[in-house]
């Protein structure tokens, strides 16, 4: 059982115009097995929340706390957070020239588990994950994210979700830039990984489209750096019909 608690989180970034507060008191609790969707208009701070939990150095926490099973996440380095069981599927995964996917995945798995995976089961798991995500086997020989299409980048993120088995997973706009077929494949991957590992899932999205494939237990509407409204899946349906105007203009 894992529990991620975000309490009164305030986050700022440095901009050319000086320091700017993006998150203004976010409260959120995610437990194993739960799926939370965070929805909101552009610029509302959704991605900032994701990157702050993962520990990106650009974001400065000025107030509040993040706890994983009661442990202070803010004191952990980026890699310590990952090893503690936090996972962020990125919206824009970066290229790592000269580093093959297979080398990268094995290095990450070894780091997360604290020991190298047994070769035979590892290759089997990797193949199975790639097959399920309809990724060609030649994929492992390519350099990480180099020349990947948008869809390939997202599949690669979800492959990592399946292989690294986190306790809390944050998906940052994993649905953006995917056509319907790719969205379905990626969503199935997320559901499969969640069924297998029972992680807590925080799904960040601009659109309700992905919620047709990944059913949320809770929906939070993010506006101007905090949760403006929360509810069950019905809230997503209402957003689908009404959009964000009601919040933005309020």
């Amino acid at each position: 059982m894992a529990i991620l608690q975000i309490k009164n989180l305030h986050v700022s970034v440095e901009t050319e115009q000086g320091k700017k507060e993006i998150l203004r008191g976010v409260d959120l609790t995610i437990k194993s097995g739960e799926t939370h969707a965070i929805m909101g208009p552009n610029g509302s701070g959704k991605s900032t929340l994701a990157y702050t939990v993962a520990g990106h150095p650009k974001y400065e926490v000025t107030e509040g706390e993040i706890l994983l099973d009661g442990e202070n996440v803010l004191e952990m380095s980026v890699d310590e957070r990952a090893r503690a069981g936090l996972f962020l599927a990125m919206q824009y995964p970066v290229e790592i020239p000269g580093v093959s996917v297979s080398n990268f995945l094995r290095t990450a798995k070894t780091a997360i588990d604290g020991e190298a995976p047994a070769l035979r089961t590892w290759i089997k798991d990797m193949r199975a994950g790639m097959d399920a995500l309809r990724m060609d086997s030649s994929f492992t020989e390519r350099n990480v994210n180099e020349g990947f299409s948008g869809g390939e980048k997202k599949r690669h993120e979800i492959l990592q979700l399946e292989l690294l088995k986190p306790r809390i997973a944050i998906l940052d706009e994993t649905d953006s830039g995917l056509d319907v077929d790719a969205l379905k494949i990626v969503s199935e991957g997320v559901n499969r990984a969640k069924a297998a590992n029972d992680f807590g899932l925080l799904l960040i999205t601009h659109y309700t489209r992905i919620l047709n494939y990944i059913k949320p237990d809770f929906v939070h509407v993010f506006v101007a750096g905090k949760v403006a409204e929360q509810g069950g899946p019905e809230l997503a349906e209402r957003l689908e019909a009404e959009g964000y105007d009601r919040y933005v203009n309020a």
Partner: protein, 396 residues
Amino acid sequence: MTTATQTANSGAVQHGLIEHSHGYGVPIQTRNERIRSTNVADFAPISTREEQWRYLSADRINGLDADALSEYLGDISAKHPDSVTTQWVGADHPLFGAAGVPEDRVSAAAWGSAEKAYLVTIPGNSESACEVQLGIDSESDEPSALHLIIDAKPFANGIVILDHKGKATLGENVEIIVGDEANLTVISIQDWNDDSVHISAQFAKLGRNAKLRHVVVSLGGKTVRVSSSTEFTQPGAEVEMLGLYFADAGQFLENRLYVDHAVPNCKSRVTYKGALQGERAHTVWVGDVLIRKAAEGTDTYELNRNLLLTDGARADSVPNLEIETGQIAGAGHASASGRFDDEQLFYLQARGITEGEARRLVVRGFLNEIIQQIGNDEIQSRLSASIEAELARSNS
């Protein structure tokens, strides 16, 4: 002065790679007007006011700026198939001077001081590539001169590995003759001990449809400078010039390249990559490409990238492209020096990989792009191991 230079000094705030401003660099003088002579007296004393010595001061070269050097007395071990011959010949041999003329003072001093040359002859019409390994194992740090000639006959197919190691203060000239239709790879590895100084000028002359792959790997030595030039004499030839260097604290590693497109329809590709770590680690890359009026249909591209792993290191990168004809197939250059890309580190760390391991992965990947192109398994694994050793040092 419109050559593009990037310098990343300590304290500079950089994020990712900094691209240099584009546009064709115009050197101070046109490249082919530079003094070329076998007589050391024709060159001015070494000074950082001279373009060739702009980055390298005379006090770093252990006396190689003398007018005369002693003859190289170290060992040259040779391993090669029977079809290849290796022998010492006199400086009056007809091939002495067949591929080049010195363009700097140390090269001229070494040229005039060498009374003999080590000649490697690769016969034509060999079915598979002849591999020649030359171990240049020096044990003396007395300023000395060495002259090598590699003669790849027409239709030859060979690989020559120049493996420089030990203790040396060496001025060296390497002449590389690539005959018509020949296919030659020359790999020059500089892995000297910490106090060594090595200034090498390597001249390649390519015949019709000849192919040369020239690889320069500089890892060890206090001061290592390799000037590599390629001259096309007949149409249809191709050169690929690859370079890899890794400078530690206090090391100075310089590469100066010159590709002279004097005839039509030749192709050149230059790709050099370097990593730097530690206080006063300094690398210099100068890439001159000249496309003369007659060289229609030229296709050229040169690239240099540097990765600065720590503060206090400095990488200079200067591409120069001179074009005297518009009738070309393509001409371009790229140069960038930068620190670690923070986003790459974040991505790897977000997958549980420690910062140190993430840095090693990125550097390994960065340099692997060159290593993978060398085309010799033994050298590739040896270089990978050397890079691992360098990276292990960075972790201590």
